[in-house]
Symmetry: C2
Amino acid sequence: MANVIPDKFVDLFKKKALASLATLMPDGRPQVTPVWCEYDGRQVLINTAIGRQKDKNLVHDGRVALSITDPDNPYRYIEVRGRVAERTEVGADAHIDHLAQKYLGTKYPYRQAGEKRVLFRIEPESVTTMG
Amino acid sequence: MANVIPDKFVDLFKKKALASLATLMPDGRPQVTPVWCEYDGRQVLINTAIGRQKDKNLVHDGRVALSITDPDNPYRYIEVRGRVAERTEVGADAHIDHLAQKYLGTKYPYRQAGEKRVLFRIEPESVTTMG
């Protein structure tokens, strides 16, 4: 599959900028929340806790959009539309530490008792950019 | 109608933070883009150009979600879900100048030939906050 994310916008995934992830509520309304994310050169990876609204929404309908605004230039952004290619608990706990390292420079400090992490791999399908 | 936006989060609408506006594509997929916005104490106002994807989506389905992250604290945010209460060209041209004043401290400098502005009033229905 062709890589749809332009090279000149890959830097946005390396900065500490949060992505705004839009998912669909079970009745089809949009939901949007800030999330940590990374790009592995092919897919966009996010991580949440099992049972949260995002998780429920993505299980129900895997279609998503996410935008990242350049923290150094608010009029430069990328929007990626795509869908969930994989939802897995395998490696999800290590992955939230990996994301925390990117965003906080430390292991994930917010674990809650009984919380189970889940990792989503999102296949980009189309991209819009500005700036 | 009860005001659903908590007083302690109204400050997010006064800062220069862009909102991430999620709309629905005609086939029901989510779309998300950064937008200027303001809150008049009752509704959230945004402004776009007629014919843009956002405008087309909102005409097709008025259900939206928007989130604003505190530029001074990336782990504080508000998400507002609601729907379009009004779409109007009346006052829309003056309103984009008003928003530009908030975000840029000047009149709107990006007008394009033939562009017609349209103002959307969004009625908040539910709110999620963090921080």
